[in-house]
Symmetry: C2
Subunit: 159 residues, 2 copies
């Protein structure tokens, strides 16, 4: 991702952290982590990964594109569901190895299970038995029917 990158090359730590040039760092698999929050509610909607191409397409179009590790392909959020995400703001973190999208969620929900957010379960703290940690559903009501949106037979996560 270095010599052939479409983005500016990374320089010193000082420049990466305090500079004004966007120099995203992709990991060994060529991906950068992306957090997506709802620009209105500030709820975390999902965490996904972007390849260089996904990041470039997001920047160009103002709509969220990602790279699916399971399907090993570039995908546009909402390409199956119609539930796309319009980017209100993109931020980058100090060492420029993660991006944060504040989005306007188009359509009912961000999660392929039918919920508004992918984070619809809480993990209990301070429980002794890690093999029996019982999740608690929170804000988990379905806002759309995934069987209707994706089709009954297609169970592959596509968010």
């Amino acid at each position: 991702m270095t010599e052939t990158s479409v983005f500016a090359p990374r320089a010193s730590t000082e420049q990466v952290e305090e500079g004004r040039l966007f120099t995203p760092k992709f990991d060994a698999d060529g991906l950068i982590t992306c957090v997506v929050t709802d620009a209105g509610s500030a709820e975390v909607l999902m965490v996904a990964h972007m390849s260089e191409q996904a990041l470039a397409k997001t920047l160009t179009t103002g709509e969220a594109w990602f790279y699916s590790r399971s399907r090993q392909k570039l995908w546009k959020k909402g390409e199956s569901s119609g539930h796309s995400q319009r980017v209100v703001e993109m931020r980058v973190d100090c060492d420029q190895d993660a991006v944060w999208l504040r989005v306007e969620q188009i359509g009912a929900g961000a999660c392929h299970t039918g919920r508004a957010s992918c984070f619809y379960r809480a993990v209990p703290l301070r429980q002794a038995d890690f093999r029996r940690l019982i999740l608690e559903f929170r804000n988990a009501e379905k806002v759309f029917d995934p069987a209707e949106v994706y089709g009954e037979k297609d169970k592959a996560p596509r968010k």
Copy 2:
């Protein structure tokens, strides 16, 4: 991370997505992505990674522990700075390969550069020249002096 995991083994997609058992998925490096937001402001503070041990320590203590990929070691948030994070809530996403911590940030800020959040720069959208994308500083005022907190000579990111 499968047979020796301290957490429950993963079963069907249906159980992972709709079930009540916590079955976190670690990647090939044994890590899970973690998003940290401020429980008060809902601002995204940072993105980091947890090893199985870091996740277990976070669950047990109610304070945020991570795994540093650059330093290749377990670390407690605030071990150098004193700026620890008390977990108000932990959530897990649909496929259980990312966790979201809502925290009370103890001390001035979450970012090792001295800011409240690591995401203090915005990336401009719809610019043609990807090699010259000029970041815009947002909420970037320093809330503590990193030289004072970490020492002048130690420039390694430790957040």
